[in-house]
Symmetry: C2
DNA sequence: GTCAATGGTTTGTCCGGACAACCGAACCAT
DNA sequence: ATGGTTCGGTTGTCCGGACAAACCATTGAC
């Protein structure tokens, strides 16, 4: 799964030898009667071991062959488990050396999560105030983003997101009219993405633009900011796994109280 | 590689049947004498075919077994090729149905790229003015980010990034002192990441924070913006594959001329 | 002492096969 | 018409094996 990259080992200082902690033997087991795939059982146990510090950063995982033998699995299965953790950025493989645990810092790799989930995970009790929930004719901008006819019917939702009773963001979203029904109580209880997923929509990818500008008087008022306060802006179009645009949103955030915080992995 | 996710198929409108274009037969071939892995040759050909529109969005790829037979490859190899494109978001697999091309819109999934490369790819001829390139004692903030001793030696680089002769961003970066040598001509000719990669450093992941605030008089002056203009801010710590922090940067961008634009994939 | 050759270890790639799980369509019975 | 069943097709999972490529440490030659 690694791209065949040519490694320039140029005119630089010698790469410091990464300290390798000793190989760790770990309590692992799989349940063959479970419907959960074996590779998945294994990868979860390994991930948990890393999470709990039983596998310390830098430690070697022990070679795949022996690990497979110890668990009564085949090497491809073990490799599949390891590979999934490599993709998550938790492990690094080196041919001729072994597989070692990355020196953490890794938290989570920028998921397509709603602001609601983010706030909830951060322990802020989020709240939503639905300001508008209706169908409107699609403007040119919205029609282009959702790939529907200009002037066609689309849902429009306007929400104010609060944390600890304080306004955090003003969210304006558009959805294809025939996608699903939403009412205010649902929207106040959880995030939009969770509702869409619960409706059987498989979210696949999204295109985002993050920028900044100063608040208009209206916006400043709604968010409780002084006039001309700096705002973070985000526009996002989300696609399901058939490639259909299922949501377009324009959000503004109080820069004084919110910032985007995420982790990137380098796809070698 | 798919997570065993329970599919809620709830109280929603019936999911519109995705239009499936007819299965496409494609001109594919692999070169067994090449050192390039077979699965990689195949995935590149498929990706190119998608890029060039020979595989149209929604079209089925034809079953793996037959595809493998047609190419003289084994099914695992074909699966590996397909999987890499699924991971890139170009293909979607459905058990019992087949593999189909995602209705594009997919461009690139937020890589760890330098601003320099981004501008260059966008056709803006970027330029860099090195304002500072020296070693300093690490402040508490920098020491924490790079995991070095406070007061220890670190490189400090300050650069002004221009596009079409106009200032775009002001970049301040810190690197461990023993990592590599950089001189101004190198820094003006290309981006920092490219230099690090060329020095044999394997970039692995990065932690980013994007926010906004108003410019100080100094900053406004440097960037050619009016006082109190909104700025986009980014802080980033980059790690190599041993988990070592190899770069910490604090960047500010003119919000009037720059925004972050990227694509996210949902990790099933 | 320094450099090149050697060998052992580990992951990377590839093969061929087997069965299970799932989807959709066609079919049949109600 | 409606609903359930069956069946063919496709991907998902798993196995066991084989060889190649890369890395590291040791050995040997100069």
């Amino acid at each position: 799964m690694q791209l065949p990259v040519i490694r320039h080992r140029g005119y630089a200082r010698p790469v410091p030898k990464p300290e390798v902690a000793p190989t760790v033997t770990l309590q692992l087991s799989v349940d063959r009667s479970s419907p959960v795939p074996l590779y998945f059982q294994l990868s979860q146990q390994l991930e948990a071991a890393i999470e709990h510090g039983e596998l310390t950063p830098g430690s070697l995982l022990g070679n795949e062959i022996e690990l497979a033998a110890r668990l009564g699995l085949s090497r491809p299965t073990v490799r599949q488990a390891i590979q999934s953790l490599v993709d998550k950025g938790l492990l690094v493989r080196r041919r001729g050396v072994g597989t070692q645990v990355v020196h953490s810092q890794v938290k989570r790799p920028l998921e397509l999560s709603s602001l609601y989930d983010d706030l909830e995970a951060a322990g802020q009790r989020p709240a939503t105030r639905v300001l508008l929930n209706t169908t409107v004719a699609a403007s040119a901008e919205v029609a282009a983003a959702l790939a529907v006819a200009e002037g066609g019917e689309v849902h429009r939702i306007e929400r104010l997101r609060l944390a600890h009773g304080e306004p955090m963001a003003y969210l304006c979203n558009y959805l294809p009219a025939d996608l699903l029904d939403l009412d205010a109580p649902q929207l106040e209880a959880t995030g939009l993405y969770r509702l869409m997923r619960a409706a059987g929509i498989t979210l696949h990818s999204a295109r985002q633009t993050i920028g900044a500008r100063t608040a208009t008087p209206d916006e400043a008022d709604r968010l409780g900011e002084p006039e001309n306060a700096p705002l973070l802006t985000m526009q996002r179009t989300t696609f399901d796994d058939t490639g259909r645009a299922v949501e377009y949103g324009t959000h503004i955030y109080r820069a004084s109280r919110y910032s985007f915080d995420f982790q990137l992995l380098v796809r070698s």
